[in-house]
């Protein structure tokens, strides 16, 4: 375990350093910059590690160990020299009120409680759940043991293991095992724990400028206490990581569309996070397409084409390292997606059957309704235990927000609603069209797919119930500490 911890420290430290470098701007204080970059460290660290690992296998036929030695050297050198740079004196920021301090205390208390529950759940099931054995850890073993031979083996493996799934989690795990010199579930536990902590931190950070620090703290606490986060992270699934990347992409793009003085994560960083989403799971691809289409449509409406073009180029450059790995994997390694192959043959039949639509609507309703009866053989996990009242809260926030705003939404809010609706509608159609047994598919994956977009939906609703005039007239000013405008 200690070897895994060393690898974890190096990878997260590297991610933090790169994010801080991207965030750094003249006048920004060192610790403030580091704090702003912190929520992005798991995404950058694991995303880059997995992409470099795979590129090493593809291009050089071996894991790039030398590169990691070099990377570790630069990491240590960077951490040693960065604090010695000249930073201007503290300009003085408003002191937090007692209420704000209480909200902050709630956030960190729930974050620690969530992490403790995660560790408890991991102890109960150290080997993970079904998909982690069948897909993510399965591919990780092949990558770690077979190395570049994986390319030849992957087409021989049973399609039931979804060998076309992208490799962020598997390659990260394989890299941990190889760098640590041992295999073990400790690697997956550390990777998942990083996202368990990283997602609430990211939510809080992205929300601050839009909703003020108090509401951002409460929003982060709500994500930290989401049972679905605990369930799927302790089972070592990739859905939590995807939720993290989608939120990072949605928040980053929304900040660019907003006219408010909010913190804007660098476009390079947002581009990287979007690419990491498609490198995590196949479901990331339609979600990222929705995000990009929404951004481009709304940006072109009032922005000069040249400026928008420059923004897109920066997004693309940020995405490049992971995009390269993803394209090489999909074109040169992965078999055809079995779900898509199945849908093509049954498309007309599936879409024209009302009973299939009804069944999916029923399943969505059952997922959202929190007061199902106690555990039964058919459903041992009623929705309250899965979501803890999350969806009724979303319903309340949506109703209050839209009524309060009289449907006059700002541009970034339209974007966020588009993404939230687009994601939910997309998953609805997946289940209408699924070539698998529909009952089984709904029962075994709907809650996970909803988890992928749940943090972004919460982000959308909290932004919607926090109009600019309320913030300007109220006690809290929008927060902008760092980040280029």
């Amino acid at each position: 375990m200690s070897a895994f911890l060393v690898v974890q420290a190096l990878v997260l430290g590297g991610g933090l350093l790169i994010a801080a470098t991207a965030y750094a701007q003249p006048g920004a204080r060192f610790w403030v910059t580091l704090r702003a970059a912190l929520p992005f460290a798991p995404g950058l660290g694991f995303g880059l590690l997995s992409a470099l690992w795979f590129l090493g296998l593809d291009l050089a036929q071996s894991p790039p160990r030398g590169l990691f030695v070099l990377g570790s050297f630069f990491l240590v050198a960077g951490l040693a020299t960065l604090p010695k740079r000249e930073f201007p004196p503290d300009p003085g920021s408003p002191r937090a009120s007692g209420t704000a301090l209480a909200a902050r205390a709630i956030f960190f208390a729930t974050l620690l409680f969530g992490l403790w529950c995660f560790l408890d759940a991991v102890r109960a099931r150290p080997g993970g759940g079904f998909d982690s054995m069948a897909i993510w850890n399965y591919a990780a073993r092949f990558l770690a043991r077979a190395g570049a031979d994986y390319r030849g083996l992957i087409l021989e493996l049973d399609p039931a293991h979804h060998m076309d799934y992208p490799l962020l989690m598997s390659a990260t795990t394989a890299a941990f095992w190889t760098l640590a010199g041992q295999e073990g579930h400790g690697a997956q536990h550390l990777i998942q724990a990083s996202f368990v902590v990283g997602l609430p931190l990211l939510m809080r950070r992205l929300l601050r400028g839009f909703v003020g620090t108090i509401r951002a703290d409460l929003g982060g606490a709500l994500v930290a206490t989401l049972p679905q986060v605990l369930i799927w992270s302790s089972r070592q699934y990739a859905d939590l990581a995807l939720a993290y990347f989608i939120l990072a992409g949605a928040g980053g793009l929304a900040s660019r569309l907003s006219a408010r003085a909010v913190e804007r994560p660098p476009l390079l960083l947002t581009g990287f996070m979007l690419a990491a989403a498609i490198w995590t799971k196949n479901e990331g691809q339609p979600l990222v397409i929705i995000l990009l289409l929404g951004f481009i449509l709304l940006r072109f409406r009032d922005g000069p084409a040249l400026r928008v073009g420059k923004e897109l180029v920066r997004l693309f450059l940020g995405a490049l390292p992971i995009l390269a790995a993803f394209v090489l994997f999909k074109l040169g390694w992965a078999p055809r997606n079995d779900l898509m192959a199945g849908i093509e043959g049954k498309f007309a039949e599936s879409i024209s059957r009302p009973d299939r639509w009804h069944k999916v609507a029923e399943a969505f309703g059952a997922e959202a309704w929190p007061f199902t009866p106690g555990p039964s053989a058919e459903d041992p996990w009623p929705s309250f235990r899965r979501w803890g009242g999350f969806w009724p809260l979303i319903g309340i926030l949506a109703t209050v927000g839209l009524a309060y705003r009289r449907l006059r939404l700002e541009r970034h809010e339209i974007f966020l609603w588009l993404v939230s609706f687009g994601g939910a509608a997309g998953w609805f159609m997946v289940y209408v069209l699924t070539p698998n047994d529909q009952d089984w598919h709904l029962a075994t994956s709907l809650n996970r797919l909803l988890l992928q977009i749940a943090p972004t939906i919460l982000f959308t609703m909290l932004v919607t119930v926090s109009p600019r005039r309320e913030l300007e007239a109220g006690a809290e000013a929008p927060v902008q500490e760092v980040g280029p405008t």
Binding site: F87, T110, F113, F130, R215, G388, L393
Partner: protein, 171 residues
């Protein structure tokens, strides 16, 4: 850290600390706090989850075969599974991987036909075939492979359908 001292040392150049902001809670914030309470309860419950809906589903759980497997394979902590079982209700091949759910039995899952190539000493290959004749053929293949690779092979026929195989050290 030097940075920390740099932050606090030049206090003379710092701007005066402004007074506290008078923040207040909006009704929406109170709603969020109220919803935090059931979330904490649900989180507490979720940490001790025991049931895997996938495994408990009848589609995925061919009870008798796997119970037998668990009984016979007790003590095995690394194993590879092969299976050709078909689920009659959906007419799909059951995942060989599902056997992995039996706690403490296996940590490694590989698939045909790469499995022999990758079988390490001390790892178990557990074959579960609906047709015993097919299992006979696979056992024969395994023995042939052992002769070709000059590796000692051991076969434990657990039942008509199930066999546990092992290979000795690589030469």
């Amino acid at each position: 850290m030097k940075a920390a001292s740099m932050e606090s040392a030049p206090s003379a150049t710092k701007a005066p600390v402004p007074p506290r902001r008078a923040a207040r809670l909006a009704p929406v914030d109170l709603v969020l706090i109220v919803f935090l309470l059931p979330a904490l309860v649900a989180l507490w419950q979720a940490r001790s989850f025991e049931v895997d809906t996938v495994v408990s589903s009848p589609v995925w759980w061919d009870g008798e075969g796997y119970r037998e497997l668990a009984r016979n394979a007790r003590g095995i902590d690394r194993a590879i599974f092969l299976s050709d079982r078909i689920d009659a209700s959906t007419n799909t091949r059951l995942h060989s991987i599902q056997y992995a759910i039996i706690p403490g039995i296996l940590d490694t899952e590989l698939d045909w036909p790469v499995v022999f190539r990758r079988l390490d000493a001390g790892e178990y290959l557990i074959c579960d075939f609906s047709d015993p004749k097919v299992l006979d053929q696979e056992i024969a293949k395994f023995r042939d492979w052992g002769i070709r690779e000059k590796r000692e092979v051991m076969v434990d026929r657990v039942s008509r359908n199930i066999a546990i195989m092992r290979a000795g050290e690589r030469p």
